[in-house]
């Protein structure tokens, strides 16, 4: 298995890191409130615009925070710096689960006696089931301690499979114009029109994930030494792994249900945090949470700021940032023969 050695030197200063993070997050929030369709000069519309923009800023922050945290947990679980929910197919699994939920909610459910089921819950539950299935399939395929390349390839294959299944469902859904539009919007990712309701649905997962991750921080540090060393020092490895998987799936599901299928946040953010906060999970976990939130808030600002006919989907912006970073990491690790 590959290893986490993204920054060979020690952290610069975690206090400096927190200051930088706070500045980046606050500027991101201010820009998020200032930029968008419609001017703020009209005082009659000011409060409405600010409320709408605060809602999408909060949604992008919560979704990004969940993905940043899921990224740290994924890289720790697989001891692989190139691992993240999007690279390993968990995001695609959650997305497929969400599409299934949308289709089921619009077509099958109204024809049954289950109409009392809250529609709002259907999407996050679908995402959660999809993410869990994706992770469990990945673990089943890679349980014989396969190398990092095999792990990444398996993730790629699963992603492709889930995306194909999602496309199949999309073609079916396009029979109904409204459903087709909802599925496309969800698949591309974005926080347009999102607000308190979406934050309220995702927040419990984020808080739960944070509490769990902080609780497991010492266990996760020990797992960096491999299962046997962790066991010999008293870690119940299977229990920790089981719960970490559940929380990665929950966090990814929360993020996807709030912000759609957004890639690379979980990969980029922990790498950006390590030079400032080091490799120990005690500092890396909260830093990646805040960093992920700030990153996606900025991505949403960029999506709104770039002049296009509509609004750029969030996943497009994160893809343009994340894909080069992923390639750079891949090339660097290849040179170090980590992937040999």
């Amino acid at each position: 298995m590959s290893e986490l050695r993204s920054s060979p030197s020690e952290p610069v200063s975690h206090w400096r890191g927190w200051v930088v993070l706070a500045v980046v997050a606050v500027i991101g929030l201010l820009l998020s409130l200032a930029i968008g369709a419609g001017g703020l000069s009209d005082s009659s519309m000011l409060s409405t615009f600010l409320r709408l923009r605060a809602g999408r800023a909060a949604t992008s922050f919560v979704a990004g925070a969940a993905l940043g945290l899921a990224g740290v947990l994924t890289q720790g679980l697989f001891r692989n710096p190139l691992a993240s929910p999007s690279v390993l197919g968990t995001t695609a699994g959650a997305s497929l689960g969400g599409v299934v939920a949308l289709v089921v909610g619009a077509t099958w459910l109204p024809a049954t006696s289950l109409t009392w089921l809250p529609r709002d819950l259907l999407l996050p539950v679908g995402c959660l089931v999809g993410a869990l299935v994706a992770l469990l399939v990945l673990l089943a395929v890679t349980r014989r301690n396969v190398g990092p390349v095999a792990l990444l390839l398996t993730g790629f294959i699963l992603s492709s499979l889930f995306l194909s299944a999602g496309s199949l469902l999309l073609s079916v859904a396009q029979d109904t114009w409204q459903l087709g539009r909802a599925v496309v919007a969800f698949t591309l990712g974005g926080v347009d029109g999102k607000g308190v309701r979406h934050v309220a649905l995702a927040l419990p997962f984020l808080v739960g994930g944070l509490v769990a991750a902080v609780g497991w921080r010492r266990h996760l540090d020990l797992l960096l030494s491999g299962d046997d060393e962790a066991r010999s020092l008293g870690v119940r490895v299977e229990v920790v792994r089981g719960w970490v998987i559940v929380w990665i799936a929950s966090l990814t599901a929360a993020a996807v249900s709030a912000g759609g299928s957004v890639s690379f946040v979980g990969l980029v953010v922990p790498h950006a945090m390590r030079p400032y906060f080091g490799h120990g999970h005690a500092r890396l976990i909260p830093a990646s949470l805040v960093g992920g939130g700030a990153f996606l808030m900025w991505a949403d600002v960029i999506a709104r700021a770039i002049p296009t006919r509509g609004e750029l989907p969030l996943g497009v912006v994160t893809g343009f940032i994340g894909a080069p970073v992923f390639l750079a990491l891949l090339l660097r690790d290849s040179k170090r023969e980590v992937l040999a």
Partner: protein, 260 residues
Amino acid sequence: MTASIRVSGLSARYGRGQNVLHDVEFEARTGAVTALLGPNGSGKSTLLRAVCGLVPYTGEVHVDGEPARSLSRTELARRVAFVPQNSQLQTPLLVKDVVQQGRFAAKGRGAGRRRSDAERVERAMELAAATPFRDRPFTALSGGERQRVLLARALATGASTLLLDEPTSAQDVRHGLWMGGTLRSLAASGVAVVVVLHDIREVRTFADHAFLLSEGCVVRSGTSLDVTAAAPIRDVFAVEVVENGSLGFTLPEARTGPGA
């Protein structure tokens, strides 16, 4: 001296393969250094790993008189510390943080983060001569230095039994001698030390007792001198032992630490 580890009728294998150990009888006593000796693939490391619960086995392992299977993972970690030959850790955690991991299974409120834990960690680093690189990343160390950090991590657990897998394999001659002397000091302080060694001279120099393994079986046990006598070594390793004119080293009396 009482038995800290008692193994009886132990057989072990990896996955569905053939047995790596067959019906092994083994004992390690408090206050003594016990060496495991044998050719490559004879099952020495597997025996260590079975004792600390890393390999499934049939038979019995008793730790301080209690069946190991009845002990929880953390309780076993409090009693038995394992020093692998190499660590899988490739993340640049600081040495002091790696040694701190030895306090993971510590008992009590705030365990691992108390002042007493910090003192124990510092003491462990001193004993293992790892203090000079306490603030360096683990991955920046040489193989020999890493082994000393892993020893410090094991000492930080406060376990009464120490299992070491070839702790001198990456050490130069000076540090090899220092490591042997440290193991003897630990035994003198009441720790049961079990160590896998390849160098027959080291077995004679550092160990009180020895077990000679071949093809997963214990073929000879007793004092280190008896086990490393010409006949059993010839039988197991197919080499002749030359007793005269052999090369030997010793640490100068006045020098204490390996870097002195």
